[in-house]
Amino acid sequence: MSVAQRLKQVAFLILLSFYTAFVAGPLFWVTTMSLRTTTEIAHNPYALPETFHFEKFYKAWVNSNYNVYFTNSVIIVLSAVVILTLIGGMAGHCFARYRFRFRRFLYFMIFSTIIFPPQITIIALFQILVEYGLYNSRIGLILVYVAFQLPVTVYLLESFFARIPSDLYDAARMDGYSEWSIFFKVSLPVALPALSTTVILNTILLWNEFLYAVVLIVDEAKRTLPLGIQQFMGDHLEDVGMIASGLMIAIVPVVIIYVFFSEKLIQGMTAGAVK
C-alpha cells in the first residue's frame, strides 16, 4: 500500500474515532453516571464508577414511580406500533396493488400531512381530544401517535409493496387464495425488511416522544417515561445521578428492540425477497 493510501486510511480512522466518541461518548457517560451516586458525580463528573450502585435502579423503579412510567410507555408504544404496522401495512398494500377511485387523491392527502410539525397541530389536537373526552387518556395518546406516524409508515411500506412483482400475487390467486390471505401469507412475509424498518422507526420515535405526551397527559399515573425523566429536572433539585439511572431504564429497551429487529431486517434482505 502506498504512503498516500496509508495516510488516507489513517485520516479516515481518526475521523471515525472522533465521530464514534462524539456519538457514543454521551451514552457511555450516562451509563457510568447511572451507577454512581449524585455526590460521587459532583465530586468527579467523568470518573468511572468505583462501586456499582445498582440499587439506584431499584430506587428509581419503586420510589420515583418509574415502574408506572415504564408500564405506560410500553402499553402506549406497543399498541401504537402494532396498530401502525397493521393499518400501515394494509394501506400500503392497497395503494401499491389496487386501482380505485380517488387513489391518488387519498395518497396525497395522507402524505401531505407529513409537512406539519407537531407544534402546529398540537393546539387543534388538544381541542379535539377534549371534545371527544380523550384528553389525559392513554387511548387518546395512542390514537394521536398512530395518526401522526401513519403517513411515513404508509409511504415506506407502499414503496416497498410496489416493488414486489405482481406475478407473485397472480400466482397466489391462481393457487386459490383470497385477497386477505394473500396479504397475510404473501405480502407481509415478503415485506419483512420494510416492516422491520417501520417497527424500529416507530418504536424509537414514539418511545422518545415528548411534546404530545407532555401536553396531552396530566395524570401522574398515566405519564410516559420521557415525562418521568423530565420530572427529575426542575421539580426537585437536579438529581443528576437519578436522572442518569432513569435514562438507562428508558434506553435499554430501545436498544434491545433495535438489535433484535435490525437483525431481522438484514436477514430479510439477504433472503432475496425480490428476484
Binding site: P165, D167, L168, D170, A171, A172, R173, M174, D175, G176, Y177, S178, S181, V186, P189, V190, L192, A271, G272, A273, V274, K275
Partner: protein
C-alpha cells in the same frame, strides 16, 4: 382435463379506447396443446389472463367444459398457470412453494406430502425440496414453477412465455421436456409465446394473433404452408418468406404470368381460374427454402429459372443463405441453399424457384389469393 371455448372475447382496459383483445374466438379441445403466437404487445397475454381469471372480460363468453366462467374467480376455475418470471414465493422453501396451492384446497397433510414428493420426483427436484428459491438456478426455478402447476392436477394448464428467461441451450431441453410432459399427462395446455420455433415444435395447433385479433388457427404445418395473409407468411419461418411486388399480366390464350422485374414467370395452372382483373399488382410469396440451385430442386417442384445478382453470402455452417437482387426490382430475395455452394458478391447466378409452394397475396388486403 377439459375443453376451453372462447366466444367473441373482448378486453378494453378502462381509460383506453383501443381494445387489447378484439372478438377472440377459438376452441381448445381436450388434450390439445394450443399455442398463442404473436409479436410483443399483440394481446396474447391478455387473452391468457382472461382465461385464467386474472383479467376481467369486457364482452364475450369464456367456457370451460361448456360452463360459462366469466364471473367465476380465478381460484375456482381449476386452472394452473406457469409465469414467465416463475413467481415463486421467496420466503418459502421449494416444498412449501409446491404445497401452497394444495393447502388451500383442504387436502390432508399426508396427501399433500405424497403429491409434492411425487411431482418433485418427476421433475428431478427432490434434492432441492428444502431450499429457498434464491438458492436455485434459473432452470431449477422454472421446474419448481412447473411443479407447482402439476401438483394441483388442474383441468387446464396455462403457460405465459415460460422459456423466455432461460438461456438458449436450456430453452431447447426444457421445450422437449414440456412436450414429453404434455404426452405423459394428456392435459389441455394453452401456451403463449412470441417465438415461432417454440410454436412450431410444441403446438398441436397454433393460433396467430396480431393487434388483438385472431389471424389464423391451424396445425403448425398448415399455418406454415398456407398462410392466410402476409403477416402470417412473414411471421413464421426463418429467414422469413420473400414477399415480392410483382405484376400479374395476361398473355394470349388466357395464360397468366408474373412480371418479376424484367423476368416473366408463367404461373402454374392452379391460379388460372382466379376472378381478379388483370393486369394488376400482386405480392408474390416464396419461402427461402423453396429456392434451389440448379440441379437441387426436388421432383415435385414446379420449376422456374431466375437469374439474379448475388449481393451477400452468409455461410452458416449447415447451410448458406444467399441474398440476391433480381434485375429491375428494388427488393432483395433470400434463398437458403446447401453448404457447399461456391459463389461470391457480384456474381450472377441462376436459381430455380419452386412454384408448387408459392403464394400470391392481394397487396391491398394483404390476404392470400386462394387458388380454386
Amino acid at each position: 382435463m377439459a375443453e376451453v371455448t372462447l366466444e367473441g372475447l373482448t378486453k378494453i382496459y378502462s381509460g383506453s379506447h383501443e381494445a387489447a383483445a378484439k372478438d377472440v374466438s377459438f376452441r381448445v379441445e381436450d388434450g390439445d396443446f394450443m399455442v398463442l403466437l404473436g409479436p410483443s404487445g399483440c394481446g396474447k397475454s391478455t387473452i391468457l389472463r382472461m382465461i385464467a381469471g386474472l383479467e376481467s372480460i369486457t364482452s364475450g363468453i369464456l367456457r370451460i367444459d361448456g360452463k360459462a366462467m366469466n364471473h367465476v374467480p380465478a381460484k375456482d376455475r381449476d386452472i394452473a398457470m406457469v409465469f414467465q418470471s416463475y413467481a415463486l414465493y421467496p420466503h418459502m422453501k421449494v416444498r412449501d412453494n409446491l404445497a401452497f396451492g394444495l393447502k388451500r384446497r383442504g387436502f390432508a397433510r399426508e396427501e399433500i406430502k405424497r403429491k409434492v414428493n411425487q411431482v418433485a420426483e418427476i421433475l428431478g427436484l427432490t434434492p432441492f425440496l428444502n431450499r429457498k428459491p434464491h438458492a436455485l438456478s434459473g432452470g431449477q426455478r422454472q421446474r419448481v414453477a412447473l411443479g407447482r402447476a402439476i401438483v394441483r392436477d388442474p383441468k387446464v394448464f396455462l403457460f405465459d412465455e415460460p422459456l423466455s428467461n432461460l438461456d438458449a441451450a436450456l430453452r431447447v431441453s426444457t421445450r422437449n421436456e414440456l412436450v414429453s410432459l404434455h404426452h405423459r399427462l394428456g392435459a389441455t395446455m394453452i401456451y403463449v409465446t412470441h417465438d415461432q420455433v417454440e410454436a412450431m415444435t410444441m403446438g398441436t395447433r397454433i393460433c396467430i394473433i396480431n393487434l388483438g385479433r385472431v389471424v389464423q388457427i391451424g396445425p403448425p404445418m398448415e399455418v406454415y404452408r398456407k398462410p392466410i395473409n402476409t403477416f402470417v407468411a412473414s411471421f413464421l419461418g426463418s429467414p422469413p418468406m420473400n414477399l415480392l411486388k410483382t405484376r400479374l399480366e395476361k398473355a394470349r390464350e388466357g395464360q397468366r404470368f408474373l412480371q418479376l422485374g424484367t423476368k416473366s414467370i408463367s404461373l402454374p395452372e392452379r391460379w388460372f381460374p382466379s376472378t381478379m382483373e388483370i393486369p394488376r399488382e400482386v405480392i408474390f410469396g416464396i419461402r427461402p427454402e423453396d429456392i434451389f440451385l440448379p440441379g437441387s430442386a426436388p421432383s415435385y417442384a414446379i420449376p422456374t429459372e431466375v437469374e439474379m445478382e448475388v449481393t451477400a453470402v452468409e455461410t452458416l455452417g449447415a447451410e448458406t443463405v444467399l441474398i440476391l437482387k433480381p434485375d429491375d426490382l428494388e427488393q432483395k430475395v433470400t434463398a437458403r441453399v446447401g453448404r457447399d455452394v461456391r459463389t461470391h458478391r457480384g456474381e450472377r447466378i441462376k436459381l430455380i424457384f419452386d412454384l408448387s409452394s408459392a403464394q400470391l397475396f392481394n397487396p391491398d388486403t394483404t390476404e392470400v389469393i386462394v387458388e380454386r
